[in-house]
Symmetry: C2
Subunit: 375 residues, 2 copies
């Protein structure tokens, strides 16, 4: 006799690039889990995007395959976010909210969500890299923090390195009692691509401004490339890692972050104006390249955390051509964990750290973790 | 009011190198969990080595800090393994058995253990790389396989790459619906050290027999180095990975495994005789080195799994000097996962894949996973 399936309700907010890839993976996962022993009935009961939302009628599941098309046909006005969340909290069972947005308002509601028993999985960095008070508020409420076992769980693997096993690895090092001494790596696909092209280990590479223009054309930058070049994205990721390593970092602006936006271009009123004027500063970048080459090194844009010294920084560093950080390819990320147990050679995780499918994979992996913990 | 702690009973079999390191980590973990919210009371109730064992009186915990000393003072004769297991099954709560041995007899009992509700965590490769029938028997019984939710869980992260996140990463790729196309890497610390020294990316390296002798002197080989050079250890690891990737590999001898023991030396009656005669074959190895160098490549001892073609193999391969496998250092392992989502650049995990502390870390991490699933 087959076991009665356990029902878990899932709400998805954000159905853009990552959200769409996630829905594909959710479809696969829900089929898999419905046939597992014991089976799990994973019910999508909410899909919400910036201007429309779709609720399930009487808790019956939405059709995952058609949900994007069905959303298009919705004519009712969008409910306020708070009402949507209140709806989720009334579901007759365990609820997991998947936040595939980069919305800070939704991020700010995580502390109350987990305290309402709603679990959250998300690639949204906002909540975890904002004030330390918000971080503490989230994890003092979450069941996988110090909150009640009846509260919701919260996982955010994809906030650093997308689907790469970065946060799970760091947590395991810490929880099993290793001493993490240093974390160092390339945490931005954009910065990786830019510097691997600007100064490859062999060959001369292109002018910096030309590489930025090329990266934008290939879709490797934000619509305004200054949002990558200011270093804030990397600073947010470092804030998250440092906190998991035990440092009470106040915010992503509480440590030195080197911006690659020349001071004279800070006043540019558009990304286009910025890109047009960037070649004026190619000379400075060529000097940097030449000075590194003279030492037999290459330049990379990295983040590092010195845990015992409690120092976090983000910016340009020189590396020997034989260093794993120098040898990185394409837009890959690399994360080096130096620990007492691992000694002089770090534990390294490397691979694509951006892209819809790999980011969604980190989210789906987290969803699966929560499902298992709820069973 | 503090919550009532949940009690979980732990039995440890094998207190040698890995087992000793594990006990240190267990001590740290049990303190951590006793202060968590909600607290967990992790009780060591059994410690067993090859000739002695120590039981708890009336389910009160043994003192982890003193357990090695207390074992020394035991004068009672060793109970048969079956009686020890029967004792564990009578504990008044959830039980986790930690098998830090390489004992095939204990490994063969995993199917019955998980069906008795006892969870197992272990770095012991034996059960997972034996017949496919045994593998199926284990996972059709385990709660994290297709067994009843009341059965025991079983995790074995340290059977491949020690504490590196290898099996957990592969499982997540598969479970979230990625298509793994190829897995390739250096899976033996001994083979890594031997070939990184025999043929480094820059410099000429030493004679093969001299590197084997050096590796043995440094403690990087088994007491008899033929146990590393025959390739079986790597074949066992590949068997485990291939099965997790969905291939029903019958055994570690069901696919081509290249042995580095020259045919003429297969009749040697001791490791010492073998080491003494190995220099006779240095010429062959030097030829191999020269032929690779002519192509601008280096030689490495690797394992690979071509998933769509269902082909597994272990042996020598040539790699470009710029390939991550060529650039490996010391006795590190490297594992490259090529998948549909990750495209042309693989997801890479790299670092120490052997050693007591890092192996124990994989075991402790698995223990923590089981504890969370039991809560």
């Amino acid at each position: 006799m087959p076991a009665t399936p356990q029902t878990i309700f899932v709400g998805v907010i954000g159905v853009g690039g990552v959200g769409k890839a996630f829905l594909g993976q959710l479809h696969h996962l829900s089929q898999r889990l419905s046939q597992a022993n014991p089976p799990t009935d994973l019910r999508l009961i909410l899909a919400r995007r910036s201007n429309k939302q779709l609720f399930s009628e009487s808790w019956q599941p939405l059709n995952i395959s058609n949900v994007l098309r069905d959303l298009d046909q919705v004519t009712q006005p969008l409910l306020p976010l708070q009402e949507t969340v209140d709806y989720l909290a009334t579901a007759p069972g365990k609820v997991i909210l998947v936040d595939n947005t980069s919305d800070p308002t939704l991020a700010n509601s995580y502390p109350s969500l987990v305290r309402k028993g709603i679990s959250v999985v998300t690639p949204n960095k906002k909540a975890f890299s904002d004030t330390y008070a918000l971080w503490s508020d989230i994890f003092s409420g979450a069941a996988n923090g110090t909150g009640s076992a009846n509260n919701g769980y919260i996982f955010h693997e994809s906030t650093v390195g997308a689907g790469l096993p970065v946060l799970s690895t760091l947590k395991e090092l810490v929880e099993t009692g290793d001493e993490v001494t240093k974390i160092e790596g390339v945490f931005s696909g954009t910065m990786s691509f830019l510097f691997n092209s600007f100064m490859p280990v062999s060959g001369s590479g292109g002018k910096f401004s030309a590489e930025v223009t090329k990266a934008k054309a290939l879709g490797f930058t934000e619509p305004d490339p200054r949002d990558d070049l200011n270093g804030l994205d990397v600073a947010r990721k470092l804030t998250i890692l440092a906190r998991l390593a035990g440092l009470a970092v106040e915010s992503p602006t509480a440590f030195p972050v080197e911006s690659l936006i020349p001071q004279a271009l800070e006043s540019c009123t558009s990304g286009d104006e910025f890109l047009q004027r960037l070649p004026e500063f190619d000379g400075q970048m060529e000097d940097l390249k030449a000075s590194a080459a003279k030492e037999g090194k290459v330049v990379r844009f990295v983040g590092s955390i010195d845990v015992p010294a409690q120092k976090v920084k983000v910016g340009l560093e020189k590396f020997d051509a034989s260093h794993p950080i120098a040898a990185l390819k394409g837009s890959d990320n690399i994360i080096n964990f130096y620990t007492k147990r691992y000694g002089s050679n770090p534990l390294i995780v490397q691979g694509a750290g951006a892209g819809a499918e790999v980011t969604a994979m980190g989210v789906t992996g987290d969803l699966l973790k929560v499902i298992r913990l709820l069973q």
